[in-house]
């Protein structure tokens, strides 16, 4: 018993050490956001200091912060909604009525993710310019929908696959219509899966930083672009930068914490039983 206990303590020390190391950069950023600019660059680094909210006030004074945040929210939610709208019927059809082409179609969908964004940067830029979608939320929503669609289809497909076929069969025997079957049986069973797919899609869209940096300038620029705009004045605005970063990642970080258990189920693509 004593041996088991000591081993457990060893694991605890190791586990916590790793966790703290990995989390430290985020913690340090959070801490810095409450320092004055002078304290933020002080030597030696200060772990204990008088916290101030002046950085958050300063960020709020840059009135456009909320514009960026609003863009992030609109773009992540909009693209996730659209992707689900397209993906749920497709995943349903492929999971419950597979044909010999289903596997190939799924593989092909995933292979479109392999298409490097840079390879089509110029045409997409020009297409967006011609369509008046440059620096517009609609443009970003359409692009995010398309780049996340393969993963969304895949995740929902693997969740549908987990629904026991017997339940649907039994319901069919009882004479339920397709609509009833979808609404009363499949949807409640697959809802947790759909929710976690939506969460991942939101996280990916929120953090996407290639198209947002290249296709937006101001009006539709999400938080990724807002943060990137701080990259030039090195060292001068660490505390304010930390405050802005904290605001930019806090919603998605909390999202991730709450959904991590469900997230991973879909992400394994059915490879883990």
């Amino acid at each position: 018993m004593a041996r088991k206990n000591s081993r457990q303590w060893l694991w605890a020390v190791l586990g916590w050490l790793v966790a703290i190391l990995l989390f430290f950069p985020i913690f340090w950023m959070f801490l810095t956001s409450f320092k004055t600019e002078v304290a933020a660059v002080a030597t030696p680094p200060q772990l204990f200091f008088r916290p101030t909210l002046e950085n958050y006030v300063a960020i709020q004074d840059r009135a456009n912060y909320f514009n960026y945040a609003l863009n992030s929210i609109a773009v992540s939610l909009g693209s996730t909604f659209l992707a689900l709208l397209l993906a749920i019927p497709a995943a349903y059809a492929m999971a419950f009525f597979p044909t010999k082409r289903t596997k190939g179609t799924l593989m092909w969908m995933l292979s479109t993710k392999m298409l490097p964004s840079v390879g089509v940067l110029v045409p997409v830029y020009i297409l967006c310019r011609e369509a008046g979608l440059l620096d517009s939320r609609i443009g970003l929503i359409i692009i995010y929908t398309l780049i996340n669609l393969p993963i969304v289809v895949w995740m929902i497909y693997s969740f549908f696959k987990e629904v026991p076929k017997e339940i649907l069969e039994a319901d069919r025997m009882d004479g339920a219509s397709t609509q009833q079957e979808l609404r009363h049986v499949l949807l409640p069973l697959a809802l947790p899966g759909i929710a976690s797919t939506a969460l991942l899609s939101i996280i990916l869209a929120w953090n996407e930083a290639f198209w947002s940096l290249n296709l937006t300038t101001f009006d539709a620029a999400p938080l990724t672009a807002f943060i990137a705009s701080f990259s030039s004045p090195q060292g001068l605005f660490w505390a304010k930068l930390s405050a802005a970063s904290t605001l930019a990642i806090a919603p998605i970080l909390i999202f991730g914490w709450l959904s991590q258990r469900q997230l991973v189920r879909g992400l394994t693509f059915g490879a883990v039983k």
């Binding site: 966790a19 989390f23 019927p89 010999k100 298409l115 840079v118 940096l213 970080l253 992400l267 883990v272």
Partner: protein, 306 residues
């Protein structure tokens, strides 16, 4: 097309357990997704192919003309292009090795029971949720800055002097940042895989006197191979086009030291306004990605048969 996607309509040939299956035409359900992705793939790709054979610079759009393979010979003879391919490969392979190697070890660690395990795990996976621009800025300014960065302050405090990461070891700095972002992802997936492993099997092997290394090599690793394949596939998709981390920290420099293929094309397209050259480079990137994709798809397709 329609007959192959729709459900088989010959009831007599159907196995008995499918008799209750509905007559649902799946085509209208699948078509929207397929068409959307097809357009997304084909339209820009066709335009890229078209541009790649033209002299087309946005600064001088009137001089647009067909030049055949001119852009390709120019790109392929540009040493910068080959450097960028080499850097892309180094970046993808080293981050894959680091995240999967460390991820496996950490997954075993977090599979053990210890006090506060749940909270520790949530903390450990947090970097995955941080947007690339933010994580790049944290590392660049607060951790790796040669004067005020925490790492420099610690090494100087130990009398080791400070490293100017982005001037002297820029590629390593990028590798560290990207690994930090993606290690949690590998950890999360591999941990789930380990937890699905039959623990009685491990106990039985241990009773039989299997050493920990043999246990790992012959029991755990085979079980993990499918999860590792999935991690490698998803990570490769994202690593081939690493952009924001470079954009925010080094801007591809110093020189071309951190210019991967994605960044090389970006420099051509948006800074030199050379649409023709960027398109030719983009096309080569697409071809390379497809070669990688074929290998990855094969390994994943094998794992699909469940």
């Amino acid at each position: 097309m329609s007959s192959s996607l729709a459900v088989d309509r010959h009831p007599e040939t159907r196995p008995p357990e499918q008799r209750t299956r509905r007559q649902v035409s799946t085509l209208p359900l699948v078509a929207p997704s397929v068409i959307a992705l097809l357009l997304w793939m084909i339209v820009p790709l066709a335009m890229t192919i078209g541009f790649s054979f033209q002299r087309y610079n946005l600064l001088n759009p009137d001089a647009r003309e067909f030049i055949g393979l001119g852009n390709f010979t120019f790109i392929l003879s540009d040493p910068g292009f080959w450097i960028s391919i080499g850097i892309t490969i180094i970046l993808v392979v080293s981050v894959l090795v680091i995240t999967i190697g460390l991820g496996t070890l950490l997954a075993i660690l977090f599979d053990q029971e210890f006090p506060g395990q749940g909270i520790a795990r949530v903390l450990a996976i947090s970097p995955f949720f941080v947007m690339p621009t933010v994580s790049a800025l944290i590392w660049k300014n607060m951790l790796m800055h040669p004067v005020n960065g925490l790492i420099a302050q610690i090494t100087r405090g130990l009398g080791l002097g400070a490293i100017d990461w982005f001037a002297n070891l820029p590629l390593l700095a990028i590798i560290i940042i990207v690994s930090w972002e993606w290690l949690p992802f590998a950890l999360l997936i591999l941990l789930t895989a380990i937890q699905s492993l039959d623990h009685e099997q491990i106990e039985a092997a241990r009773m039989d006197g299997a050493k920990p290394i043999a246990l790992f090599r012959f029991v755990m690793l085979p079980h993990l191979s499918r999860a590792i394949a999935v991690v490698a596939m998803i990570e490769t998709i994202f690593f081939l086009t690493i952009f924001a981390e470079i954009f925010v920290t080094t801007g591809g420099g110093p020189g071309l030291a951190t210019t991967n293929l994605a960044y090389y094309i970006f420099l051509k397209a948006l800074l030199e306004f050379d649409v023709g050259g960027a398109s030719a480079g983009g096309l080569i990137a697409v071809i390379l990605a497809n070669i990688v994709a074929i290998f990855l798809m094969r390994s994943v397709a094998r794992n699909l048969d469940t």
